[in-house]
């Protein structure tokens, strides 16, 4: 600890991320999910189980709410009381939104969840003591706690099922919080490869497991800083800005001239500045 350092770099330490204007340097990982393409098929969720060593908890534990899917598919019905849901259901893949001003980060007593330079909301399993304050403060409730020691629990990874475990991803023991990482293990490999070639990661070079599996390509993932990245183009086209809590679309909401935009972020009004943009589901008006 040095007070000199504190005083010399005062303004740097007082910089407020991301509200004040300091753009990400090389990477800002972000996602967009087209709800019009999402069919709710669960392929992403299974891919996540396979990639991230998620435990299958079984019926009894599931019934107590110990489900452990970093990516969950929510299914909503219309609420207008019609006899049949004749416009179908609405599916929404929900995972950690990697908020830029994440409510979970500030409340962790031990600093086990932090913001990375790449704009990820990281979780340090080793550091976590299991106070669960992060999940308590998460508006999306997308954090999952290891209520049991799954690696040693019967029928979670019985021999030889444990041979399927991905060695790139830690198998978490009891008492730590976990959540979607945007497949940070893949990002690390891609960044390392790119760095060794003296460049940054190209768009499409790295995919998250869910994106890779998604049969309809509803999930787009990439580097928001990269002007070539599809995700950035989508955000820009939808006029969704990262560090803003009121987008262009909201201003058009009641305008006579209906907005052509369908990008939105969930709970933007709480100002977590999530890194996941959803594109509204479209339904045909002619039938």
């Amino acid at each position: 600890m040095s007070v000199t350092n504190l005083l010399e770099n005062w303004s740097q330490f007082r910089h407020k991320h991301p509200v004040e204007d300091k753009p990400h340097a090389e990477y800002k990982w972000a996602m967009s999910i087209d709800l019009d393409a999402c069919t709710g098929c669960n392929a992403c969720s299974v891919a996540c189980y396979a990639e991230n060593n998620l435990p299958v908890v079984g019926k009894e534990k599931y019934s107590h709410g110990f489900s452990h899917h970093w990516m969950r598919i929510e299914r909503y019905w219309d609420e207008d009381g019609r006899e049949f849901p004749d416009q179908g259901a609405q599916f929404l893949p929900m995972m950690c939104q990697h908020c830029e001003a994440a409510p979970c980060e500030t409340v962790c007593p031990v600093g086990a969840t932090n913001h990375t330079g790449d704009g990820l909301n990281s979780q340090v399993y080793n550091r976590c003591i299991g106070s669960r304050y992060c999940e308590a403060n998460c508006p999306y409730k997308v954090r999952y706690f290891n209520w049991y020691d799954y690696p040693t629990t019967n029928n979670v990874w019985p021999e030889p099922m444990n041979q399927q475990l991905n060695p790139d991803v830690t198998v978490r023991g009891k008492g730590v919080m976990e959540k979607c990482t945007f497949c940070v293990q893949r990002l690390t490999v891609a960044k390392s490869d790119a760095r060794s070639q003296g460049r940054t990661v190209r768009d499409g070079e790295v995919q998250t497991a869910c994106q890779q599996a998604c049969p309809t390509g509803a999930i787009t993932f990439g580097n928001l800083v990269d002007p070539e990245a599809r995700v950035g183009k989508q955000w820009m086209q939808q006029q969704v800005e990262l560090a803003v809590d009121h987008q262009a679309k909201d201003q058009h909401e009641h305008a006579e001239q209906a907005s052509k935009l369908r990008g939105y972020r969930i709970f933007e009004e709480l100002r977590p500045y999530p890194s996941v943009m959803y594109l509204e589901r479209v339904r045909e008006s002619a039938v």
Binding site: T39, Y62, H69, G88, A89, L165, V282, R283
Partner: protein
Amino acid sequence: MIENSFNRRDFLKVLGWGGAAVTLSGCGNTSVEDGRELVTSYSEPAEYVIPSIGVYFNSTCAQCDAGCNIMGKVREGRVLKLEGNSQSAINRGKMCGLGQAGVQAHYNPDRLREPLLRTGDKGEAISWDTALELINAKLDGVQGNQIAFLTGGISGHVNVLLKNYIDALGSAKHFAYEAVAPSVVRAANKKAYGVEMPRLRLDKAKVIVSFGADFLGAWVSPVHFAQQYAQFRKASNGGRGVLVQIESKMTLTGANADRWLAIRPGTEGILALGLINALGAGGVKVAADAAGAAKAYTPERVSTETGISVEQITKLAALLKERTPSLVIAGSAAEGYAHGSHNAAAIALLNQALGNVGKTVEFPAALPFPQIAPTVGNRYALHALNDDMAHDQVKVLFNFGANPVFTAPAGLKFKENLGKVPFKVAFAHYMDETALQADLVLPLDSALEEWGTSVPEYAAEGAQLNVHQPLMEKLYPGTRATGDILLALLKLRRAQEYKGYEDFYAYLRSALVQNKAALGGSGKDDDTFWSATLSNGLVKLPGASNAARKTSATTLVFPAPAAQDGAYPLRLIPAVTANMRDGRHANQPWLQESPDPLTTIVWDSWVEIHPKTAARLGIVEGDIVEVASKSGTLKAQAYLFPGIHPDAISIPLGYGHQAMGRYAKDIGANAFHIMDAVFDSETGELAMHETRVKISPTGQRVVIVKDEGSAGGKQMGKKIAVRVSSEKVDLSEEV
């Protein structure tokens, strides 16, 4: 991806020591134990194994018959994850949840590990040699036509060997059985278009009208269709496509429709004819016979019979007229009746009336090698086998992985009839219900351990031959590949012919290499061709085009909507879900724990009831209800579900195993076992939707284990999943 330019067998040898040390502890001698090979230390791996770097090998998904091409990620000799092969025209690098769970079929802790011979109620472990000799002995003196082979859909070189073996035994019978295959639609398609599986171009259609085809969930080739669907939803071909789903129970596809119409069960064909009639009235040129068949089906009559409003029919007809090309699909909900063939034919007729044939209904290429073509499974086969067994016509039954004891409707009394077969051999991965009845159980390699080829029934582009190759060394020395077993059996019959093939791998390699010219490898030397084939994981085949045929409408007969059966007032719709299908993968925990997309229920069966019906019967969510048909009863939890016709209830198939290991046994109830044995009038296929049931609460109540919270599917006024009307957005401007 690493080019597959090394010796495949060395690779496996290394993997064997690195990945599956089980080999050492297992019984039976390996070549190493016999001293023929030396142990290679893993600290000095072969150059293509880079510790901590994943290596990908291409193969084919065996979880369903769609034949998606996959890449297995292999690390230190273990296969970790299955990903899509982007070279594939079928799945283009994508995967469904079912396919990805394939690793859990491979690593399943309940796999069979050694041949078992029944002695009394117990299985006794025996050696493979004993087992094969026993089979050979049992076959002696049995007439060829008293030997039956029960398989699922089967294709490729295993199919060739099977045919040869059947031949060697003197015209034994082959029954290809699939519990949930679209077999009536196949027959109707054959009539209407000249092919069983025309190529559906969802991506080209501007309107899709699907009569209960769950093409995004569990129908034919869902991953392929899902990709076409994504294109269909984009503006790339001039406007976002409109999906109208017509079915009595909402499927995953129905949940994604722009308009989901709850039709009275069984009246799909009537609506199709009604639409033809309305189109004709709206000025669309309809062929005379079709117009004639449809003439009687005025919107008013159709509305009364189907329960769909006149306004809706008119709107739909107008949409079909306005936006072309369209595509009409007949799915399993339309075919599941005694008049299912007629429903399917009427729907095909609608396609023709709309002029979709040749535009969105295309004709697949014919396969240049008919001997490896798929023998598709259907439900008639089971019926036929059952009859044979009932009449003591079967003395020896070989069952390759089918599980009819679980999937046969109770009405067939299949298990009872199976008991009459003196010698039953089951080739199985797990001790499932049918294997439990067998006299000899032979453990199979997992799909990720064996060599093989397959040809998908639904070809996305041209024709293609899929390559199956091991993604890692066998976990258990006591299992064998289907191909190897057939080859061994053949050697016992036709030793001369097959003595050149050490194993199935050798057979397969030589079969492909000999035909390399036809398989696009002309000019390459054998090794290069073979390596390239394995590296690609598939071979694209040129094929001749098929011609279209026109269907006749004159024979269509529809029963008047049946009067309510007082004793059994509701119709049972057995749901084929994307995860469970017919239940053969129920022991893969990822699938059990993946919530059903529509109900979000996990680890159990449920009974979907429309809230209106439930209110009438005094049933609330979580009530354990007894569902009784003429053939049987089951108990399951009730789930109030708005997406179902009030005259029907739905129970998912695939649950209710009484065997198959820790993840499947005693999970839910088996809906197959309450199905009545009613058959399609033309094809003789089992009509899946013809069961009528009554339902009564038992007084027990449980908390349903599901993912949705106490708010159910409500957003409670929060802006979470937002929907917008199509006129308010312009997708063509989007990235």
